[in-house]
Structures are given as structure tokens and as C-alpha cells.
Symmetry: C2
Subunit: 246 residues, 2 copies
């Protein structure tokens, strides 16, 4: 794993240096997801700065949802549980009614090579080995979404179909706990497309029905691409929800 600390300008503020060191410790796995990192006082000793400087570094990491502070308890490495998936990375909500966890059906798994597009999205060379799989998601029993996911085989060494099929929690939880890869950022591009026969069938829709297509790149601590995902959502009774400025 890449645990190097990206270069900073000579005159970078101290708290930015501290932040980089903390992120390096996270990326290296020194501090595990879900666990507490050392107390602010101990970090200030470790890095030779004042507590205020450590706090400012951690403030930024909390704002990015990479760390979570809890008064009286400590500061914890954000871990990918169902709640985080639902409230942070999953933007499909019922048009009316409360947000809910989707049920996932694992549909297909193949190994292959990256074409030009996927290579560019995942920062690979064309021809590099990838794994692909497809999930169908249901809300309240109704199929609403098909996910086609591509991973770089090299970054998920030893990944098996069985792991994907029988994972106990979310996909990002599996990446994090089984492969030490934490997704902390995503970039999504949305379009309206006509459903092809394949996906229409999986969603119980007529071919040609307008679907919301989401192309997501999920990135790790150093902004390195981790996963490429194309989702097709039936928006008859569901919507993609985005808030800006909160």
C-alpha cells in the first residue's frame, strides 16, 4: 500500500504536516478502522507540536469524514458500516417515505482485462487484470438498481467470488477490512439513458424506459481510484438526492 507522504511546499503550515502524517498512519494500517487513534495529547508529543496544532489537523480530517471525534471517548477511524454507506455514499431515496437499507443480490462475477475507458478511470494500463461483478438492489422488495462494479485485480489480491457473495456487511466494509482499502471520497457523473434489454429485465421494466445512470469513481486516502461503478436506477418511485451547502 502507498504510505508515502505527498510532498508539500517548504513553508507548509505545521498542522498540514501533521495532517499528512496522520493520513499516512491511516493508509499504512497503523490505526485500524473503527479503532481509536492516540489522544490529542499523545499525538502532540509524537509530532512535537502543541495540542492546538494537532486539533486543527484532526478538525480537517473530521470535516472530511475520515476521522470521527467523540467527546469523552476519543477520536476514531471512520469505518464502513451500513449507516455510513446509507447516509454518506448511497444517494437513492424513495420519492416518499423514509430512507432504507437496500437488499443486495449478487448476480455475476467475471475476470477480465481493462479496456481503455476503465484503465483511465482506475489509473491502470489497458490490459491490466480486473474483476467485474454485478449486483441488483431492492428497496421494499422492488428491484430499483443494478450495479456493475470493476476493481483492479492487483489492488484486491486474492479477492474471490465467494467473498463478494457472502460478505456480511457493505462492499466498502469488505474493501476496508479484508484489503486495507478505505474509500473516503467519490465522484459521480449522472445521465439519463434508455434501459437496454438486459438491465430492463433485471428491473422488471420495458426496454427503453428512462433510467438514471450513475458512473462513480471511489477514491482512497490519497485520492487514488479504488473502484469504478456504473449504476442504473429506476426512478419511477425513487430519486437521487443531493444537498449542496450544508
Amino acid at each position: 500500500m502507498d504510505t508515502t507522504i505527498p510532498a508539500l511546499p517548504q513553508s507548509a503550515p505545521l498542522y498540514k504536516e501533521v495532517k499528512r502524517h496522520v493520513m499516512a498512519a491511516l493508509a499504512s494500517g497503523e490505526w485500524k478502522p473503527g479503532a481509536a487513534i492516540p489522544a490529542e495529547r499523545r499525538l502532540s508529543e509524537r509530532y512535537g507540536t502543541s495540542i492546538g496544532t494537532v486539533r486543527k489537523a484532526i478538525d480537517e480530517l473530521c470535516a472530511e469524514n475520515i476521522l470521527i471525534r467523540q467527546q469523552g471517548r476519543g477520536t476514531f477511524v471512520a469505518s464502513h458500516n451500513r449507516d455510513r454507506m446509507l447516509f454518506y455514499f448511497f444517494h437513492v431515496v424513495p420519492a416518499d417515505g423514509p430512507k432504507a437499507y437496500p437488499d443486495v443480490e449478487f448476480l455475476a462475477f467475471t475476470r477480465g482485462k481493462a479496456d481503455r475507458v476503465v484503465a483511465e478511470r482506475l489509473a491502470l494500463e489497458p490490459g491490466d487484470a480486473v474483476v467485474r461483478f454485478r449486483n441488483r438492489l431492492r428497496l421494499a422488495g422492488t428491484p430499483i438498481m443494478v450495479d456493475d462494479i470493476t476493481l483492479a485485480a492487483a489492488r484486491f489480491a486474492g479477492l474471490t467470488e465467494r467473498q463478494l457473495r457472502t460478505r456480511p456487511s457493505t462492499l466498502y466494509n469488505l474493501y476496508q477490512y479484508s484489503f486495507g482499502i478505505s474509500v473516503v471520497r467519490t465522484r459521480e457523473r449522472l445521465r439519463a439513458v434508455a434501459a437496454d434489454g438486459d438491465i430492463a429485465a433485471l428491473l422488471d421494466l420495458a426496454a427503453g424506459t428512462p433510467l438514471l445512470q450513475i458512473r462513480r469513481i471511489a477514491c482512497g486516502y490519497h485520492d487514488e481510484p479504488v473502484e469504478y461503478r456504473v449504476s442504473h436506477v429506476s426512478t419511477a418511485n425513487h430519486e437521487y438526492y443531493a444537498e449542496i451547502g450544508t
Copy 2:
């Protein structure tokens, strides 16, 4: 205009109180968009707190893009210029090529009454007076988007078709400078829909073409709804772009 300070728990931290007071001053128009607010030192005197407490309040308002700090110059009230519109509230980007300013054509203007849906979105009573207007947006000459916008007439007293037609800058700039209403937040719900004949014609598309529909509620300082907007986007060569976790 509503310049009341929302209630806070008895034991609210000082910096939160300061933040509310600053927001009240903004909402009341005491500090105008684009202008500098008083220096931190002066604010600390005004509110009887330390400078650090004022900084913490302003930190939060900067994080929410309500204020903008510039070292050596001062702290400014965010104003709605074209750049802010483009980089913060406008999420439609070319599938390839750089982001650009859309050209706006004003197409239609009507006065009417709020139906149940609009009333709920704009926090009005059904039957309250509203103004509606339609814009077509082009990028590089090609029509890509139709906006249908609804405003509460009471909140935009004296608004004329001419103002909308001849506005020199963005719509949100007009709201801000002519009506003292600042949009600081939006909530958007996205769906894929089939183009109806009306909108298809405006976008040079066949009826039934899948379009991205965006239903946006724009809100002010106290989260009060200001504008309801339904956009239909042709995503043949453009996309809706969203970043999470940055």
C-alpha cells in the same frame, strides 16, 4: 425579512451564539453581499468574546460558503457572481471538455397561484400568488437544459418580467441584490424521465428521449425555501457531476 435569531439550547457554546448573531446581521442586510464584515478584533469587542471564539464562528460560516476570508484583506459576504454559480450551484458539465458558462434565453413568464405541491415546496399555502418563468440554457450554442422556476410573489415584491429578462448577472445575483434574498443552500432530487413534446422541441430532441430531471429547492440563511426549480437536461453530451467527501 426574517432577522430573528433561532433559539438555541441554554448551554449553547458561545461561538454558536456568535454565529447566529452574524447570520442575523447577514439576513437583515446589515452587511451586504460582496462587502467586508467588521474585522475579527472588532467583532470580538462587539460580542464581548475572545478573538478565537469569533474565529471559530466564522470558520463555520466559511465552511458553509456563506463568508469568504482573505488573508490581509478581510472577511467578505459571499455574493452570487457567475463564478459562484458555475462552481457551486451549477452541476451540469460537458462529458468531455472544460466547464463553461451557459447562455440563458428567457422564454416565458406567468403569474399564478401555488398548487399543493408548489405550496409545500415553498412553504406557502395553496393558492398563494407565485410567479413562474422558463429559461433555456445553451452550452457552446447547443440547447441542453430547460429551467422552470417558481417563486413566491410575496417574497419577491415588485418583481417584473423585465427584471428577469434584462438581468445583468445570474438569477441568484438578482435575488440577492434586488430583493435581499441570499441562496446559501440547495437540495436537489434527480430522476430520469421521458421528454414531453414541449421540452423535447426546445432541446431539438425527439419526444420520449430520456432526460435528466432535477427538482431543486433553493434555501436562504435560515433554511427558508426561496425558489423551486425543475430542470430538464439533455445528457447526450453533458452530465450532472457530484463530489462526495471533498
